[in-house]
Symmetry: C2
Subunit: 416 residues, 2 copies
Amino acid sequence: MKTIYAEILTIGDEILYGQIIDTNSQYLSRELDALGIKVRRKSAVGDEEQAILRALAEAESRADLVLMTGGLGPTKDDITKKTLAQYFETEMRSHPETLAFIVDFFQKRGREIKDIHRRQALMPAAAQILPNRLGTAPAMWFEKNGKVFVSMPGVPQEMEILMQEAVIPKIKTFFQTPVIYHKVIKTFGAGETMLSELIEDWEDHLPPHIRLAYLPSWGEVKLRLTATGPSRAELEAQVAAEIEKVMPRIEKYVYGYDQDELEAKVGEWLLAQGKTVATAESCTGGFIGHLFTKVPGSSRYFTGGVIAYSNEVKMQQLGVKPETLAQHGAVSEETACQMAEGVRQLLQTSIGVASTGVAGPEGGSPEKPVGTVWIAYADGQQTQARKLSLTNDRLLNIRLTAYIVLDMIRKRLREA
Amino acid sequence: MKTIYAEILTIGDEILYGQIIDTNSQYLSRELDALGIKVRRKSAVGDEEQAILRALAEAESRADLVLMTGGLGPTKDDITKKTLAQYFETEMRSHPETLAFIVDFFQKRGREIKDIHRRQALMPAAAQILPNRLGTAPAMWFEKNGKVFVSMPGVPQEMEILMQEAVIPKIKTFFQTPVIYHKVIKTFGAGETMLSELIEDWEDHLPPHIRLAYLPSWGEVKLRLTATGPSRAELEAQVAAEIEKVMPRIEKYVYGYDQDELEAKVGEWLLAQGKTVATAESCTGGFIGHLFTKVPGSSRYFTGGVIAYSNEVKMQQLGVKPETLAQHGAVSEETACQMAEGVRQLLQTSIGVASTGVAGPEGGSPEKPVGTVWIAYADGQQTQARKLSLTNDRLLNIRLTAYIVLDMIRKRLREA
């Protein structure tokens, strides 16, 4: 099967000048990768006729499919759309359905409709219009010499819905894309090097149509298996068989697959085991609580917590002993354990967890340098603590600590 | 003065396939914008000789300065560096200082040094080497026909330090950049439309060498003034005079300038007024605490808080009355006020703040749809509450609520 090449073109001064970050092109990359289409280049140009024309010609010379985002807002859509009309040698005309949608959009919001809004319904005549149900700028689909060009609005939510509902189905019909199947194994607590040593010879024996990629981030490593072939059912079975082979070696680091998130998986296991959890946070300052509560439905297992930033709160709310703080300091195994036990008793949960550390950039000492953190877990039967030696970056230390605490709960629940 | 044009080129398969998001090019855009250099195009290509050569030639045809990132890791730097050597018609040779740094880097970490690491010291002979003190891949500076090409590693921290310490100073020496001065006014609580109505005629009378841009995000709007001219001192004075003119109209929304963050500014004001704060969080689940504690030194005014996710915690820790919950529900003005007052008393702080709401996506009702949130502020003299009607997006609701609570504190401190 012939490889299909794509390019992604972002239009807008705000990208060139760094006012906003281009998240759309990452989304489009992933979707194209999942379709088995090879992205050859990404480009960004400003809201400028000559730059857009040149970028289109270059992309056409290299790719079969060109996905464009941006340049379609009410104040500047003229330039992008007129340039597209020029490139595809067509004229601008009002598109009745789009005009009706725009009029309705403004009426429903009780806003006055102006000429600038009506002009948004002007479209290059050669374009197939793909309606946008979230905003006033639809997508445009152009075909030229067997190649496809799609122009979409830059607002991420609108662009993503347009892709899912209209563009991807049309791409699948227009091009003969290979069957491609991805499965991501999500691991926490083992570095890329350690994992690669554990699975090296398994990896060496993977069949050539199954590729492995390591995607590390934030203390976790994702293992992505990508299989290409004629039948999806066969690929799924082959990938499942490979995962079964490798699993015994990495099992204790695996928390889920594909879109699974550690905070949500820990929540599922707590729920399944009928357990509740409470947090006592010093250096993480509420971030562990935030990770729990960003998951919908977390009130079923997350009871609450105490942000014990000052020593007074550690003593008065959590029952940390004054002599412990005096002898061992706030950043110590003893304090962390008493915090975890204290919050568990206070909020009457199955499990209590705690963090206390030197997040930085100030506050370090020779014995406890910036990045020194103690975390603890208590469930009434056992109390466990662990010392972490993290980085000089305050925000990174907060996040890493919070995820490592979640992983500590995961490990205990696995053993239960 | 002649405009200087730049292009940004990102090298790496991981960007094309969407495995990572390209934050480097936004950083570079901003730095170039601040230097008065106009970015004309951004491109990303894979780790592939022909693609890199073609991208270099295209960039050279349009720009005076080409900044490249990526493609310099230990496993794949061969391709980028060899391709650069080919493009600049030079040979590869070992760079003694780089080799010494690499050997030292590995010895200090007690790691074995392999041939693959030594090869990292091979550099195109025509390049000026800019040492990287955080990693093993230095930056390379090439000059060709009055144009400049810089290749930097893709690791953001390494690239940013190289830019600040070596590349930007060299750019300033090589090119005659215009004097450009930016000042950003940071506002919270007014939308873009409202602000533009307030300052419309001031904006219309700005001198032509001072431009205004609206940069909205997360409930805040940044107003960026950009002035270009022959003397920095003059530009600063002119911009200051313009800000003085506009300030009376927008004062109550302005929390700071340039790199100021709302959470840090609120902290400064608390400190200046000798006040402390505690949080009682239901729907925000710890995120307000996180915003306070991500600021270094926040222990001087942030005492701690209670994450009161369950009603039991609201009652037992914060003293919310059972009859209040029964009559008005957890998401109510009364509950929010009792939470703020309760945490203030419990942790003995000057100020207590609270959040309680339906973050979504489940849990809404006709009277209290998803996005309904009550927030409260208590300082012993007054207790104030405010109802918010936010979105259907759980994470967005959490973040918006937290920032609006910070802004509520800001407004009260302004009046004090």
